[in-house]
Symmetry: C2
Subunit: 530 residues, 2 copies
Amino acid sequence: MILHGKSLLAGTTGATGGATFRAVNPATGERLAPDFHEASGAEVARALDASAAAFAVYRAIPAAERATLLETIATEIEALGDALLQRAKAETGLPLARLTGERGRTCTQLRLFASVTRDGSWVDARIDPALPDRQPLPRADLRRMLLPLGPVVVFGSSNFPLAFSAAGGDTASALAAGCTVVVKAHRAHPGTGELVGGAIARAVAACGLPPGVFSLVHGGGSTVGLAMVKHPATTAVGFTGSHAAGRALFDAAAARPHPIPVFAEMSSLNPVFLLPGALHERSAALATGLLGSFTLGVGQFCTKPGLVFAVRGPDAEAFLQKLADAVRSAPCGTMLTSGIRESFLVNRLQITATPGVQPLVAASGAADAARTEAQPTVATTSATNFLAHPALATEAFGPFTLVVLADSLAEFSACAAALEGQLTATLHGTPADFAAARPLLAALEQKAGRILLNGFPTGVEVSPAMNHGGPYPATTDVRYTSVGTAALLRFARPVCYQDLADELLPPALQNANPLGLLRLVNGQPTRDPR
Amino acid sequence: MILHGKSLLAGTTGATGGATFRAVNPATGERLAPDFHEASGAEVARALDASAAAFAVYRAIPAAERATLLETIATEIEALGDALLQRAKAETGLPLARLTGERGRTCTQLRLFASVTRDGSWVDARIDPALPDRQPLPRADLRRMLLPLGPVVVFGSSNFPLAFSAAGGDTASALAAGCTVVVKAHRAHPGTGELVGGAIARAVAACGLPPGVFSLVHGGGSTVGLAMVKHPATTAVGFTGSHAAGRALFDAAAARPHPIPVFAEMSSLNPVFLLPGALHERSAALATGLLGSFTLGVGQFCTKPGLVFAVRGPDAEAFLQKLADAVRSAPCGTMLTSGIRESFLVNRLQITATPGVQPLVAASGAADAARTEAQPTVATTSATNFLAHPALATEAFGPFTLVVLADSLAEFSACAAALEGQLTATLHGTPADFAAARPLLAALEQKAGRILLNGFPTGVEVSPAMNHGGPYPATTDVRYTSVGTAALLRFARPVCYQDLADELLPPALQNANPLGLLRLVNGQPTRDPR
C-alpha cells in the first residue's frame, strides 16, 4: 500500500508545501517513507467547516444508518489486511500479536457502538404528557431526548495506534452519537492514521454520507491541534495523552469565546494496595501478576500500576524478594517513541533520585537506546517518605513501579488520602482483609474511577458497565468515561420539545414509539406507546 | 422573626467585625435591618472544610435518608410561614401571590427530588457479569453506578429568592445526588437567605446529619463567591445570573489546579418566530400572549422573550398595532434591585440607540426611579439591520422586547443561524406553517435547549422531561439542565467496581437488587436480581 502523506480533508487530500515530518521505527531508528505534510491553518478550517456542514445532514439521519456507517468502517479496516498491521508495527514497535488483538478490539468497539445507536435507548427519552386540567396551572406536553453536540475533534493517542486513534473509541462514540469527526493523527504513527482514515472515508462514501463527516489532519499538537480546538465549529474534544498536552488543550478550550468540553484522559498512577492477608497467602502470585501488569506493553498503558502499597514485615520481604527475582529476568522492551523513552527516564530519575527512595531491582539486560528500549525497574520507599515528597506521585510512563512500605494499615489510609485523582485503584486481600478495609475502599471510591479487587488494572473492557475516567488529573471531566458504551454520552446534549405535534417530533419521542425505545413516561420507564 | 445577619457555618453562626451590607426594599428604597456580615476568607474555608468532612458521611447514608432530609427541609420552610414571604417581599419587591407560588414550587421541587433519590434508578446502575470462559480473554465482573461528586457551591439568584436560591433547584438536586452544599446568599435578599438557610440547618439537625452538610455565607460574588469557587474542597458550582458573573466563575474554576465544572445559567434572548399563518389567524392573541410573557415578573425571567421575528406585511402591521395598544396600558413594575434596573436601562438603550431601530411603544405610565420601576417598551428593526448589528442580540433583562421584521421566511433562517445559544426558541404557526418550517426547526434545535410551539417560554416546569439549559452563552455546560429531575446528573460521576464481593458493593449494585432499581444487566434493562 502506497501512502501519500497528506491530510484527508472531507474526501479530498490536503496540499503539500508546508512543513513535513516522518515516522520513525523505534525498534531500528529508521525514518520511514513517505514524508507527511502538516495541515495549514486554512486546511484545518476547511476540515472543520466541512464537518459543520456535514453535521447538519449527519445529525438527522436515522440511527440505523449511523450504525451501518460504524459497521462499514469496521469492515473497511479489516479489508486493509496485513498492510495495516505491518505499518503500525513499523511505526510503533508494538508486536504483531498485540496489534492484531488491538485491531480486533477496534472493530468490536465500532460494532458495539453500532448496536448501541441501533438500539437507541441511550438517548434517554422522557415524556411528560400535557395536564391541561392541572391546578393552578396546566402542564404543557414536554418531551426530551439527547441530541448530538456537533463536530468533535479527536486526538490520536501514541499508545493505542488503532483502538484510541483515528477509528478508536473517541471517533466511534462521537459518530455513534451523531457527531461528525476531525482527527489529528498522532505524529508517531501517521501512516497508520492515513490507512485507517482512508478506510473511514471510504465507509462514509459507501454509505452515501457527506464526505465532511470525517477528516484527518497531520501536524503538531501545539500548532495544528490547538487550531482545531480553537476553531469555532468545534463542539467537543477527545484526547488521550500527557498531562501537559491535555491541560493545554483544556485551557485553550476553556478560554474560547464559547467554551467547549474537553475529555482528556491524562495521567494516573493506578495505586495497588496489598492487604496483609493477601500478602501472607500469595506473595508469589502477586509478584508475578504485578510484573505482568506494570511491564505490559512496556509499561505504556494509562492503567499501568505505578504505585504499590504493602505493610512492612516478613510477608512484604518475601513479596519483594519474589518481585525482584521476577523482574531480574524480564526482558527490556522497545518503547513507542524516543520522546516517550526520554520522558520515562526523566520521570523515573525524578522518583529514584528523591531522598529515601531505594532501588529494588532492574532487569538484568541492558536497555539498547538504538532500539528505544526501556529496562523494567522497581524502587521502594517508606510511606512516611512518600507522604513527605509529593513528587513521588509522578507518573513515569513505562515499565517502572514504586513500592511504598507502610508501618501500618493506618498509613495506607493516609497515603490514599494524599493521592490525586486516578483512573483505577486496586486492593488485593482476603475476605477478612476486605471486611477490615471498608474505610480504605470508601476513600478510594472518591479518588478513582474504577475500583478493582484481586486483579490488575491493565486491561480495560469495552462494555456497558466500564468506567475509564476519574478525578483530575486522571481526566479533565470526572463525569464521563472514555471507554465503554457510556462514552457516547460525552458527545450529546438534552433538548426538550414543548407541545410539538407528533409528526414534528423526532421518532424517539413520537407517541407510537416507532423505535421501540425504553422511555421515561411520567417518570416511569416503559416501552409502551404513549 | 429576628434576623442575626451572620453566615451559617455548619451549624454555628459566623463572626461580625468585617464589612457589612443591608438589603434594600426596591419598592421604597428603605434600607432594611439588620446589617449582614460578610464572611471572611477563614469562614469560607471553614464552611467548605466542614462540607468536605460532612460529605464523607452524607455520601454514604441510604438514599431514603437523603429523601427524608429534602422532605424535612420543605416542611421547615413551610413552617416559616408568612414571615418568610414578608421578608422576601420586602427584599425583592415581588408580590405576595408570586412569592406564595414560588414557595410552593420550591417545596414541590424538594419533594420531587426526594422521590427521585428514593426511587434510586437515576444512578444508572449497570452490571456486566463475569465471563470466566470467554476467549481469548475472560471478562471480569463489572458494575457501575453514579456517585455524588462532593461539596457543591450554590449561588443564590436574584430573580428567584426561593426556587433558585438557598433551598432552590441547585441545592435540592445537589443534596439529592448525595452532595453537601455551601450557599452564597444573594446580596439582594440576605434575610430570605438566612431564614431559608436556618430552615435547612434545622432539617439537617433533625435528621441527625453532620451540620457541615449545609452552610450559607454572606458576601460579594467577586470576593466571597470567587473564594468559594477556588477552595480545593469545592467539586462543582451552580449559578444563575449575569453573563459577566457566570463567566468569571467559570474562568476561575477552569484555572484551578484541579478544574471543576460550573453550571452557570446566564443569558438568553429566547427568540419567538411568528410564522405567517399564525400571524394571519391570531395576531391579537399573539400580541396579548407576548405582552404577558415579556412583562411577567417585570421581564426578569431568564426565559423572557426578548426577540420576536415576523414577516412584513398587513398581518405584521396588525400584530404590531395590537401589541402597541396592549403595551400602552400595561403597568410599570418594580424591579428586583436598582442595579438590575440600571443594567436594564443601559442594555435597552444600547439596543434602541442602534441605527435602524425604531421605538414602537412604551407603557403610558412613567417609571418611578424611587420605586425602582421599569416601563414596558417595544422597539422594532429590520432583519437586515439585525444581522448587521450583532449587539442587537444583547439581553436587556427587564420588560423589553425587540420585534425584527423580515422580508421573507428565508430571512428567518438567516437570523436563526446568526443567533447565539439560547435557553428556548419558540415558533408560532399553523400546521401548514410548521410543515414548511422544518428546516427552521432543525436550525433552532442546534441553538436552544427547549423548543416550544404555540406557547411562550416563561414558565419552566419542574419535571423529568424538562430541559433548562442550552449552548453557550445560555449556559456554560450544554450537557445538563438546571431545572427538572435530570438536574441531579450535574452533581454525579460514574464509578466502576471490578470483581467486588457482593457484600462489599453498594446496595444499588448487589446481586439481589435490594433497592429494586431498573438496571442495565448485560446491556439490557431489568429489575430482576442478578
